[in-house]
Amino acid sequence: MGRLKDAVIEKILLACALISILTMIGIVATLLFETINFFSEVSIASFLFDTKWTPLFKPAHYGILPLINGTLIITIGAAAVALPLGILTAIFLSEYASPKFRQVAKPVLEILAGVPTVVYGYFALTFITPLLRKAYPETNIFNAASASIVVGILILPMVASLSEDAIRAVPRSIREGAYALGATPFEVSTKVAVPAALSGILASFILALSRAIGETMAVTIAAGMMPRLTLNPLEGVQTMTAYIVQVSLGDTPRGTIGYQSIFAVAMVLFIMTLGMNIASQLIRQKYREAYV
């Protein structure tokens, strides 16, 4: 009796665990199904190499390059903000800060990480963009620079806290070895602890950048809805995510190519972020082996 009950419960719990597998299959199947429909009308070559993206008007062009351009320019900008600040914050928290300071700083970082991305969008539009326009009057109301800065701030806590974990995982004995040779705290942290944690730090960078690539609301609000092939951060751009939002805000009926196009774009987004996540995991696994 009890044994039967145990067996049934085990199956129920197994079913819960298998939902994650089904979710992954569901995502891949959904994206694949409509993407295939999309590519029955649009050639892969024009999707990858056409330099215009105008699926919703005539003449329709389906070149994803402007969207990738928009996504990458914001991701690179965000990296320029978040990576240096994040790593320096991580070093400060792991090497210099007193336990008391950490107790205050960590929750602040957690709150920063938990602020909804629409709020970051609002902050970009009403605070950062006006500042940029004061400095560079030619700045567009919707611009990549402002979006980059807020996305950078948004991924900063992730870089800082994951890098801090990696640096703190460097054994105390190795630091002591360096101090015993007459090293200063600066030398111990930058020449021993950080290099030893490098793969963990790298993993955190990749994970944070993949987050930036998938970020949606802040970039939709701050960078605009205009797909452009440009490197000028003061102009508006459209990211892959912002395009998906744009289509779903309108009334694009199922079965049309406009509807299918969001699946194709989402597929590119999914492949990019999944690839980066896997890379980050592999790097982290390698670094765990280093001390065992």
Partner: protein
């Protein structure tokens, strides 16, 4: 020249006193062993000599430790540690190449010239009796070496900044007997050039390698004399009990 004079040293972890009125003269170019049961304060005493205890927030020390008649309590710890090298209980090579491990110390202290660095690395590895085993693979990661090799690498790393004193904190406790024998030979060879202080819980080791031995118990220095005297005719009853294995 490099003698160490410890005068009226008291040390505390928070409220707890761990070293009590230690007075100890450590002779130059000799091996001095500090023995005693675990928790007697021998490692704490050793770590006072290069101020590694500074990193422990609740640690406090009073008294004087003179190296070449200069009180190290008043010295810059960075300069002090360049002069006083240390080898730890567990080998702790940096996760870098063998070459980088040895060259790291001289580099931070300002040696940039490549050929000078090469010379320092070669000499240090030879002095640490590791050269023959690693000469073909200086670019390999140091974590790939065996435990005994890693510990000799750590000794080479300490020698590379040309210290005058070397502190060894139970350097063989994590090693097999063959590696231990190699390191003991090395210690005896090194005393020609360096003043060596070794902490060990292994009395045979102290007897084998040291010229002088200090016996510590509960933070008190019970007895200090040349090694033969201490092991053969200890003056204090407690020393005798300890070395004959009646406790600890």
């Amino acid at each position: 020249m490099t003698s160490i004079k410890i005068k009226n040293l008291n040390a505390y972890y928070g409220e707890k006193q761990v070293l009590k009125e230690i007075n100890l003269d450590i002779g130059e170019k000799r091996v001095t062993a500090i023995i005693g049961p675990s928790g007697c304060g021998k490692s704490t005493l050793l770590r006072c000599i290069n101020r590694m205890n500074d990193f422990i927030d609740i640690f406090r020390a009073e008294g004087e430790i003179d190296i070449d008649d200069k009180d190290i309590m008043q010295m810059d710890p960075v300069l002090l540690r360049k002069q006083v090298g240390m080898v730890f209980q567990k080998p702790n090579p940096f996760p870098k190449t063998i070459f980088e491990n040895v060259a790291w110390g001289p580099k931070i202290h300002g040696t940039k010239d490549k050929s000078t660095l090469n010379k320092i690395v070669n000499n240090s590895l030879k002095q640490a009796a590791l050269w023959d085993e690693v000469k073909g693979r200086l670019k390999d990661n140091a974590l790939g070496l065996s435990g005994g090799q890693q510990q000799r690498l750590c000794i080479a790393r300490a020698l590379a900044v040309s210290p005058e004193v070397i502190l060894l904190d139970e350097p063989c406790s994590a090693l097999d007997p063959v590696s231990t024998a190699k390191i003991e030979d090395l210690i005896v060879a090194l005393k020609k050039h360096y003043t060596i202080v070794i902490v060990t819980h292994n009395m045979q080791q102290a007897a084998r390698v040291s010229d002088n031995t200090a016996f510590l118990l509960n933070g008190d220095l019970i007895e200090y004399s040349d090694t033969d005297t201490l092991f053969e005719t200890p003056k204090d009853k407690r020393t005798e009990d300890y070395i004959t294995g009646r406790f600890g």
